[in-house]
């Protein structure tokens, strides 16, 4: 019988990604570029929210957008048409999330000269993207009212890695049993530091607060 030789490895498969992410953040800091990793479930209104928000910010900041999806370029086209902001589409080749290396490859295709803010719209998914640090300066997520106020209990990791939770579609709150206070309480149980901003991307209510948060974040990142 063949003898089996054991080679000890003891290495987390996330270790390389963490290193890549930290290196990318350092580079972005040196260039004065702020990268926001925006996550959510499919259909939460990420793209509509972005269009509203970017239209408020585009005279104040130089912005670029990276859309990550498994396939198609509908989001990148929509953003570029509605805001005039350069948008590129990343395809993850079947992967359910972006990692730091894929994010870097995406950024290599963006002209970062003079850019203040890059928004990365991650793959619509509340599970996998939470596991992988993309190298972004901050993580934000959009939870929409029809998804339910109990989502922080069901997807704890996603809520614990996010610095900001935007609650979208507040205009339809009367039609759903969505308790905003309860939802905020569930978010705080997972992440006491998370900021919560309720908005309606459809009516525009609250979008200014999200834009102000982003503007302050970008200025802070550059001046720190």
């Amino acid at each position: 019988m063949d003898e089996v030789k054991i080679i000890e490895i003891k290495k987390s498969i996330f270790a390389d990604n963490q290193q890549d992410a930290d290196a990318l953040r350092k580079e972005l800091k040196a260039k004065g570029v702020y990268l926001l990793n925006l996550m959510s479930a499919p259909g939460s209104g990420k793209t509509t929210t972005l269009i509203r928000t970017l239209n408020l910010l585009k005279d104040k900041l130089h912005i670029a957008v990276m859309e990550a999806d498994i396939d198609s370029d509908v989001d990148a086209v929509k953003i570029q048409e509605a805001t005039g902001i350069p948008s590129i589409q990343l395809h993850t080749g079947g992967m359910c999330h972006l990692d730091a290396e894929m994010t870097r490859q995406g950024l290599d295709n963006v002209d970062l000269e003079g850019i203040d803010l890059v928004i990365l719209e991650n793959v619509g998914n509340l599970v996998c993207p939470a596991e992988f640090d993309t190298g972004s300066c901050r993580n934000a997520m959009i939870l929409s009212v029809p998804e339910g106020d109990d989502k922080p209990l069901k997807y704890p990791l996603m809520f614990s890695v996010c610095d900001l939770v935007v609650i979208n579609k507040t205009d339809v709150m009367p039609y759903f049993d969505f308790d905003l206070d309860k939802c905020k309480e569930y978010i705080r149980m997972r992440n006491p530091m998370a900021k919560v901003i309720p908005i309606s991307a459809k009516t525009g209510e609250g979008v200014e607060a999200f834009a102000d948060w982003l503007l302050a974040e970008v200025r802070n990142w550059k001046n720190q």
């Binding site: 003898e3 089996v4 054991i6 080679i7 490895i9 003891k10 498969i13 599970v127 996998c128």
Partner: protein, 117 residues
């Protein structure tokens, strides 16, 4: 849900380790997987079979999964307890000031190589 992606990372790291140790064929890979790592072991081994058999280095190799039980520490009473059974609330003092100590690992523990390699 993202087991295939995880398998691609494992293959990348095993290839690196094999090159470093001048190994031409790997017969087994042993993983330490935390109980609350969000990985479903059966999916991981299914994805492994599909992806590993496409690589000369890993053809026919077995992915062995060693589960690490999840343990949470209570910051209030300093006791440890089983995460899966009690969740985020300490069963001793009912406090919510608790931290996961172990159970999220996704680690390559070791690789196995038949000696006639």
């Amino acid at each position: 849900m993202h087991e295939l992606g995880i398998v691609f990372y494992i293959i990348r790291d095993v290839k690196e380790a094999a090159a470093e140790h001048h190994v031409e064929h790997v017969s087994g890979v042993v993983m330490d997987i935390g109980e609350v790592s969000t990985i479903v072991p059966a999916y991981l081994t299914d994805c492994w079979r599909w992806a590993a058999d496409k690589e000369d280095l890993l053809r026919g190799s077995e992915l062995k999964i060693h589960i690490i039980p999840a343990v949470t520490l209570c910051g209030d009473c300093q006791k440890e307890y089983e995460t899966v059974r009690y969740g985020k609330t300490c069963p001793y003092c009912q406090g919510g000031n608790t931290w996961l100590l172990r159970g999220r690992e996704v680690e390559i523990k070791e690789i196995e190589v038949k000696d006639n390699n």
